[in-house]
Assembly symmetry: C2
Homo-oligomer: 418 residues x 2
Amino acid sequence: MKILIKDVLLDGSIRDIFINNGTIEEIGVNCTRPADKIINGKNKAALPSFINGHTHAAMTLFRGYADDMPLKSWLEEKIWPLEAKLTPEDVYWGAKLACLEMIKNGITVFNDMYWHWEATAQAASDMGIRGLISAVFIDMFDPKKSTEQIEQNIKLFELSKKYQPSVTFTFGPHAIYTVSKQSLEWIRDFSEKENILVHMHLAETANETGFSMEKYGLTPVEFLDSINLLSERYIGCHGCMLNEPDTRIIKDNKVKLVHVPVSNLKLSVDRIFPYVLMKTEGIPYCFGTDGCASNNHLDIIETMKFASLLAKFCSHDPTTLPAGETFDLATKTAANIFRLGSWEIKVGNAPDIILIDLARPEFVPNFDIYSDIVYASNGTVVDTVICMGKILMENRYVPGEEELMDKANKVARALVAR
Amino acid sequence: MKILIKDVLLDGSIRDIFINNGTIEEIGVNCTRPADKIINGKNKAALPSFINGHTHAAMTLFRGYADDMPLKSWLEEKIWPLEAKLTPEDVYWGAKLACLEMIKNGITVFNDMYWHWEATAQAASDMGIRGLISAVFIDMFDPKKSTEQIEQNIKLFELSKKYQPSVTFTFGPHAIYTVSKQSLEWIRDFSEKENILVHMHLAETANETGFSMEKYGLTPVEFLDSINLLSERYIGCHGCMLNEPDTRIIKDNKVKLVHVPVSNLKLSVDRIFPYVLMKTEGIPYCFGTDGCASNNHLDIIETMKFASLLAKFCSHDPTTLPAGETFDLATKTAANIFRLGSWEIKVGNAPDIILIDLARPEFVPNFDIYSDIVYASNGTVVDTVICMGKILMENRYVPGEEELMDKANKVARALVAR
C-alpha cells in the first residue's frame, strides 16, 4: 500500500511523506507520487509510534476489578482466582481490547507475557499491531513442570512462525522466584541457538532480592549472571532494586531494561528505578505500562510523564530525564531493544508512524513539541496510526471498535460471574 | 435555562436529571418536564465537575518555553523576564486558553493567583466558568510597596463585585519570603472583616522553611500562626514540608490545603505532601495543577492519578488514597474548601455537572467508575460540561475554540519575541 501524508509537521518543517509498504521512500514538499491513500497532515505532526516495553495485554479484563489492596491479598484473593478461570477465548478478547487501547494511544508494538500464548498472538495479528509475545514460564522449582513448560515453549516457538511478521516469539521466564535454575539454563541455550529475546521480571521488589539472597546467596542479577542467562537478548523489567554492582554486570552483558513507573507506584514498590545510575552507565532502557490490573491504563505518554517527573523528584534534580530524552527512550531506544530497526522518520527507514493532532489547547503555544507531548498531553492526542504500512486508525477511529468493546465487556463480566 | 439529561449513568443506575438554572430539580426515570435543551446521556456517566485548587491560569502562554532547568535559572532567566513583559491583554488570552483547557478537562472552578487581576477575571467571566481569583501580593518587605499593594487589593475587591457570580475575589499573598508581616496582618484583618479567602503558597520548599527559621525563628506555619493569619479562610498550597507540630496548628485553625503533586515532582521539591498525616488528622485538602510553566497540563484527573499513586509509594502502602477518596477530594471536599455548597448530584443541590463518555476502551469493563476515572483515564473522557446552569461544552466542542487557540498562540509568540 502506498500512503502519502501531505503538509504534516516533521522535525519543525511542513513536509510530505511518501510510504510504500511501510518503507519511507520520500520526504519533501509538493510530492506528487500516486498513492492508494492520501492523508491530510495539516495541523498534525508526524512522529514514530510508541513501543510498550512490558505488559500483560489480556489483563484489560481485570481493569478496576481490584485496586487499592495489599499486594498479597490482591494477588491471592483477586487476581490468581480469576486467572485460574481464564479461557483462550477470554485472553483473545482481553488482548484485542488491549490492542485497541494501545492503537488509540499511538502504541504499535508491545512486549507481552501472559497465559494462552496463541490467543494473544491471534489478537495482535487480527488487530494489525506488532507483538513480541511470551508465554508465562513458571515451574515453581518442580522438575516435571519444568519439562512440561519446555515442551510447551518449543511448540509455541514453532507455532509462532505462522504469525509472522506481526508476532515475534520470546521467552517469558516469570521471575527468579518462580522459575528453576534448570529451566533458566534451558532457556539460555535455546534462546542463544535461535536468537530469541528473553523477557523477565527482574529486581522488582525487596522480597525478590530476599528470596534470591536466601536461595542463592546472590542478588537476582548476580544469580542470573552466574548461570550465564544475561546477554544482549535479555530484557529485564522493573529493575527497581538494582544496585551499582548489578548495574556493572548488566552493562558488561549488554542487558536491556524496561522501566514500569506507574505499576511500581501503584503497588508501592520498595524503591524506584535508579535513573541516574542507568544514565551514568549508559544502560539502554525503555518504558512499559504493565498490565491493566496494576496501572490501569495502556497509555505510554502517561507513563513517560510519570517516569520523567519521578526521575526529577528521586534525583533531587529538575534537569534529570528531560522531555526529548524521554521521547527518544520510548521510541528510538525501545525499537533498538526490540530489534525493530531505525525508528526515525527518514527515507529508507520503516518505523510505524503516528500523526498527532495539534489543534488542541495542550499544544498551544507549542514552543517545544517534545515538552508538549511528555508534559502536557496524553495518548488521546494521537489522531492517525500507521503500522507495518497499513492505517489502523484515522480521526481517532479504529474500524470495529464498538463491537470489540462490547464483546470484551461481556467476556470480562462473564469471567467474574463464573 | 432548563436542561434535561436523559438516560445517563448516575450512581450505578440509569436516570434522567432535570436542571433548572443550575439547580437539580428532579432525578428519576422517564422525566417528561419541558426543557430548553435535552441531552442524550446514553453511554455516559454524570458526575460533579472537578475543581482546580491552585493554578496561575495565564501561564499557559509559557507552556513548553522552559523545562528541565534548575529552579533558580528557570525563574531568573526564563519566567521572570517574560512575566515582566506581560500586558493585561496577554494575561486575558492566556487565562482564556487556560479556561478552555480546563473546560475540556471537566474543570469548572479554578483557584488562581496571578498578575493583572482584571484580565483573568474577565477571561473566566467570558468563558463562563467560576474563578476564585487573587492578585499576586508581593511587597518584598518594602513598606512603600506594601501600601501600594494594599490600596490595589482594596480597589480589586470593589471591582470584583461586577464579575459576580462567575468571579470571587480572594487574597493572594505570594509566600512568607515575599510578603512582609505588616501586609499579612492587614490581609488578616481585611479578610476577616469581609470574609475573604486567603490563597498562599505554604511550606513548598526547604528554602522557604530555611528563610522562615532564619527570619522568624519559626516554621512558616508557626510564623503565620504567631500573627493569627491562619483561620478557616486560609488555603495553603503545596504543603510539602509540613511536619507534625505544623499539622496540629493547621487543624486547630481549620486551615485547608491544596496538594500540587505534578508541579512538586517537576521542580523536584525536597519532600512530598504528607498524605498519611493529613488523613490521620482529618485535614481537608484538594488538588491543584499549578500553572502551565510547572506542570504543564491543566488536567486534574492526571493530577489525581499522580496524587493517589505517589501517596501509595511514599507511604509504602498500596491502600493509601484509594480511587473513591481521591475523587471525593477533587470534587466534594474541594467544593467545601471553596464554599461552593454541596457538590453532589442530588435534588436541591446546584453542583456543576460533567458527562463522561463511557464508549472508550479505558471504560471497558468498567467494574468501578472511580477506579476507571482515577487510574485509567484522563481529562479527555469528559464529553459535556454544564457550569452554573449553562452548557459550556458538548461532544467535546467549545464554541469558538479554534479562534481562541489561534489568538492565544499569536499572543504567546509575540510575547516571547518582544
